[in-house]
């Protein structure tokens, strides 16, 4: 193999360690050849373009990794490098055999720890390593599980050791993350590098995910036809929430939060729209101690009170079982060879990182004497703050650490520094070596463990960084295991999941999802109606000389007041504020605040952020097209916030963009989500909101009689803001008259923007809700809508526009009608919430306490 010299490889090595792709002589290793040639053919520019495509695809699909307290905001895009990491099957085979053995060993350890504790009793493992580990939950001891394997999923971080073999550096068992990202990385990379992916005999992941699904089904304590599986997430603020949602939609199981579940009569139930539905299996991404506030952390709102007892009765399976966190325990590493001997009479197949547990005197002394060359960790804390790199500690810090170790030695483990191998990464158009770690995944199957042929490869942020972590801005790679012969694709590349299990109807919709959809509808409606009204007002403001003083014209004053009433940003233009200032004296300032002040309830910015929150928390229902538009809306708004141009014309331009995208978005929702997935709730929310706002708008502009000219203009504004001027002209072909406007906007049975039409639509939609009655007596929310609909049908515009006398300015009957309708809608919303979104019950502790376990 010739030595490669390509511009983008210049200075690849400054000093050689083990590199995955290159030999020390810069020769490409054989199994990398095809990829290398493919990348070379693309050239520097081609590669950059592909990387851009990846970045675009990830951001379009909303692949994120949340970082707590991140100044960049919550939804940081996931980083995926265009260059995958390769491993030949011959090596992978050894590794996966080793992983299978280790998974089985840890499974036996877990069973033993929560069972007979022979490892402790027989002196194989010192008791402090288990009893002194916070992850050892005494509440879980003695539970009899129905599954053969207690450890259903196991993840290991592997990296190259000094001898060039792959070593285990971390065990992950509590709620291992990364599987979904690995899948997403594969789906993205295979699309971006199709010419290489298709020719290189890359092992496929689909078989593994089929086994994964089977594992979940088999975990059910009761063998039945329709196993109910849910994925429990801590919520959309969790760092790996994207993955929870991704797996939920990939596997087709409901994504739920603790609030969606409840324990009754010794079983676990999901609160669905129809009522309670029994749950058999929970794939959980909530950490051990948060899973049951009754028996574990009392202050947790992420879990389900009483869940552990359901587990104890064998009425539900949790994957992985609560308490698995105890084997995420570097204290066990030095004892793994003895454990392997004890349980299996085998030697460990996979090397593991050298570790010294400080609970033993000899080991402790070694650690204290060599602290500068070691990495010190707690046995039960794997977060970065609890990891100390000896070489970077000042002598003062070292002494402090030594003191800590001496005080509670059993808590500490020292490990050698990981040596890492490097793998090529594309950075600024050049290949650069990066330290890499791979996370490998194993799952329990009928006969042993099965290992994902691939995994999640993560590399350091830059060439000098040796720690690898997502939180620190590292990047990830697809991980290709290459075979010599073409991979036979037994099934389609996409999962052929057992379809009898899901396709759940509206009845089974988790009530929290239903609520989010309902509010999504309401907020999208609110954003649109307010944006249109504000745009119309801004267009009037453009015509005024000076918007920093009180407007002369009555019509403008009325429009401003309507803004306050519609957005609910009181006192606004209606009254002086507490400081005695009157917004009407400086309309520009106030309008700006109503649009941009996101801390002000009712402002457009605030409504948009509520809209985004409700959408983000149901993201597993979204199509990628929806993401694209959603991201686009966010971008428009963000750019506007950062822009210094605050001219009225600029604002009109932004609102134009916003309105167009919102409409596109609404169109997409209707075609991307099915009614039984919950779209019905979205429609109900949307129609309710639009009805409420239509009433508010009309009430502000129609109930007081003004002189003809003012009234004419107000009617025109109303029609414009309602996007109904053209329809009006088409329908009436006349001078704008209030009777006709009322007919069109309120009573027209055929016109989708009229109130009567919307009421009729709501009437039809709510009849489909699970508790509605279509035969006998209507239930509350149906009654309210029916009453409103009848009122509208019975009203007559000619009568409503009259005032009591010529001198009287208030159109009393019209005003009363509006008030009545508003009340009915308010009651409808309350009744729907009460019937379907059960929240009245806040979770409290009998004895208030909160302690970390």
């Amino acid at each position: 193999m010739p030595v490669i010299s390509t511009a983008w490889l210049n200075n690849y090595f400054t000093d050689y360690k083990y590199d995955e792709m290159f030999t020390p002589e810069m020769e490409v290793k054989p199994h990398w050849n095809q990829l290398f040639n493919g990348l070379k053919d693309l050239g520097e520019e081609g590669l950059k373009t592909r990387q851009k495509d990846i970045d675009w695809l990830l951001s379009e699909n909303g692949v994120t990794y949340n970082v707590y307290n991140d100044p960049k905001g919550l939804h940081r895009p996931w980083n995926l490098n265009v260059v995958p990491c390769l491993l030949h099957e011959s090596e992978w085979k050894t590794v996966s055999e080793g992983l299978k053995q280790r998974a089985e060993l840890l499974n036996l350890v877990l069973k033993d720890i929560y069972g007979d504790r022979k490892l402790i009793k027989e002196g194989i493992v010192p008791s402090e390593i288990i009893y002194g580990h916070r992850g050892f939950l005494r509440q879980c001891a003695g539970i009899n599980y129905s599954t053969d394997k207690l450890l259903s999923m196991y993840a290991a971080d592997i990296s190259r050791g000094t001898d060039g073999r792959l070593w285990v550096v971390n065990d992950r068992a509590e709620a291992p993350s990364g599987m979904g990202y690995a899948l997403e990385n594969r789906s993205t990379t295979s699309r971006i590098l199709p010419e290489m992916f298709s020719k290189m005999n890359v092992k496929r992941l689909s078989g593994f995910f089929q086994e994964f699904n089977q594992m979940l089904l088999d975990a059910s304590p009761e063998n039945k036809e329709n196993t109910n599986i849910v994925i429990l997430t801590p919520g959309s603020h969790n760092e790996t929430y994207f993955e929870h949602a991704y797996l939920a939609s990939f596997l087709g199981y409901p994504l739920v939060q603790g609030n969606d579940l409840v324990v009754r009569d010794g079983f676990l139930w999901m609160k669905s729209l129809k009522g309670l539905k029994q749950v058999d299996v929970v794939l959980r991404r909530v950490d051990d101690v948060f899973i049951d506030p009754l028996e574990l952390r009392e202050d947790s709102h992420l879990g389900v009170a009483g869940l552990l007892d359901v587990v104890r009765r064998n009425n539900v399976a949790i994957i992985n079982p609560v308490g698995s966190g105890v084997i995420e325990n570097p204290g066990l590493i030095p004892f793994m060879p003895a454990i392997a001997e004890y349980f299996l009479k085998e030697e460990l197949l996979l090397p593991q990182i050298a570790s010294w547990w400080c609970g033993q005197e000899k080991e402790r002394n070694f650690v204290l004497n060599n602290i500068s060359n070691l990495v010190i960790k707690r046995i039960d804390r794997t977060n970065r703050e609890s990891i100390h790199f000896g070489e970077f500690l000042s002598s003062e810090e070292k002494e402090k650490l030594k003191l800590e170790i001496n005080k509670r030695p059993y808590r500490f483990v020292a490990q050698e520094k990981i040596s890492f191998s490097t793998t090529p990464n594309l950075a600024n158009g050049k290949f650069e070596p990066r330290n890499m770690v791979a996370r490998a995944f194993s799952i329990a199957t009928k006969d042993g463990y099965s290992v994902m042929p691939g995994g999640l490869v993560r590399v350091a942020r830059d060439r000098n960084t040796f720690r690898v972590s997502n939180q620190r801005g590292g990047t990830s790679k697809d991980f290709w295991i290459l075979e010599d012969t073409p991979s036979v694709e037994t099934k389609a590349q996409y999962l052929n999941l057992n379809t009898s299990i899901s396709v759940s109807g509206l009845n089974d919709l988790p009530s929290l999802t239903a609520e989010n959809l309902y509010w999504a509808g309401r907020y999208v409606g609110r954003t649109l109606v307010n944006a249109r009204f504000l745009r119309m007002v801004l267009k009037q403001m453009v015509l005024v000389q000076d918007n920093n003083e009180k407007p002369d014209s009555l019509k403008l004053q009325l429009l401003y007041k309507a803004v306050t009433q519609l957005s609910g940003t009181y006192p606004g233009f209606c009254k002086k504020n507490k400081k005695g200032e009157y917004a009407m004296d400086n309309p520009y300032e106030e309008i700006l605040s109503v649009i941009l002040d996101k801390d002000r309830a009712g402002s457009l910015a605030h409504t948009i952020s509520m809209f985004s929150n409700s959408y983000y928390s149901i993201r597993n229902l979204w199509s990628s097209d929806m993401w694209r538009v959603f991201e686009n809306i966010q971008k428009i708004w963000k750019n506007f916030e950062e822009d210094s141009d605050r001219s009225i014309n600029k604002m009109i331009k932004v609102l134009n963009q916003l309105i167009t995208r919102l409409i596109a978005f609404m169109g997409l929702i209707e075609e991307s989500i099915m009614v039984q997935q919950g779209l019905l709730l979205y429609f109900i929310g949307l129609q309710l909101e639009q009805s409420i706002l239509t009433i508010t708008k009309c009430r502000s502009l129609l109930t007081i009689k003004y002189d003809e000219q003012v009234e004419y203009e107000l009617l025109e504004y109303l029609l414009v803001s309602h996007e109904s001027l053209n329809i009006y002209r088409y329908s009436y072909r006349s001078y704008i008259k209030i009777e006709h406007v009322i007919d069109l906007l309120l009573f027209d049975l055929e016109y989708p923007r009229s109130l009567t039409f919307m009421f009729s639509r709501i009437k039809k939609d709510i009849a489909k809700l699970p508790h509605s009655n279509t035969i006998n007596h209507l239930i509350d929310y149906q009654k309210y809508i029916f009453e409103g609909f009848s009122k509208l049908r019975l009203a007559c515009a000619e009568d409503l526009v009259k005032t009591k006398s010529e001198q009287d300015l208030l159109r009393k009957d019209l005003d009363d009608l509006f008030e009545h309708l508003s009340t009915l809608l308010f009651k409808t919303s309350q009744s729907i919430s009460k019937t379907y979104f059960d929240h009245t019950n806040t979770q409290n502790q009998l004895v208030r306490q909160s302690f970390p376990i």
């Binding site: 402090e128 002194g132 009754r264 009754l294 019950n841 979770q843």
Partner: protein, 298 residues
Amino acid sequence: MIFNIAHTTEYEYSSPVSYCHNIATLRPRESKGQELLSYEINIYPEPAEVTERIDFFGNYLTRFSLQSQHSVMKVVTKSKIIRDYKAYRESFFTDACKGVTLNSALAALQSNSPEIIEAKQYILESIFIRRTDKAIRDYAELSFKGERSVFEAAYELMQRIYTDFDFVSGFTSISTPIAEVMKEKKGVCQDFAQIAIACIRSIGLPARYISGYIETLPPEGQKKLIGSDASHAWFSIFIPNFGWIDFDPTNNQIPFDQHIVVGWGRDYYDVPPLKGVVFGGGKSELKVAVDITAENNM
């Protein structure tokens, strides 16, 4: 002596509770010199289900849930126990117990016998007693010395806590950190027990928390008031090759028969008499009454 114990706990909520899950640690366990003769628990309103199990430490836990709406929850237990601690208590003052020095105790803890392994978990930090500071260790070291008898040191520690700390109810809550109790030198029986446990663990010996009752005897010639007895807590220290010995720092005594054991654990967290998660409820008001009567027919 035979004791009848009636223990009533009542919660009254300001707004209705729609359902709740609870765990009670109220059934007295068997312990040295103590046997349970009978026990019943009654819960109002009628719970949808009640289950009982033995926890990691060997205590009886009763789990129940109320699934219909209620504004008051009442838990009443009636236990009958027989207690005869005298013989065991007398053995403390023999050489087999008193002869164990701190150094020999620490050495004995290195063994891997089942009894030692079981006891050693009570040296480790626990949920309420963690990150104890130097003040605790300094306080302990005044009594515990290498060649001194562990029993005598523990006895002295109990006396010192009794003398140095003021019994002030309401000053601390279950979430008051040990360090603060140590600094303020005020608290109730739970705090004193936990201070002692923290001290003993700081020098490397096992200590556990005992939850129970104490029979209060009325002043000579007066009639005992109903409900005047109380839940109580004290500590126990492990002396290798001898066993566990209880001390009551609140009353400055080694328990007699009046100390009735309900359960034990690493600290209060492991054996709260009643805990739970309620849905709804608003504010709650708690009433507890304990009545202990001795049957004098022995």
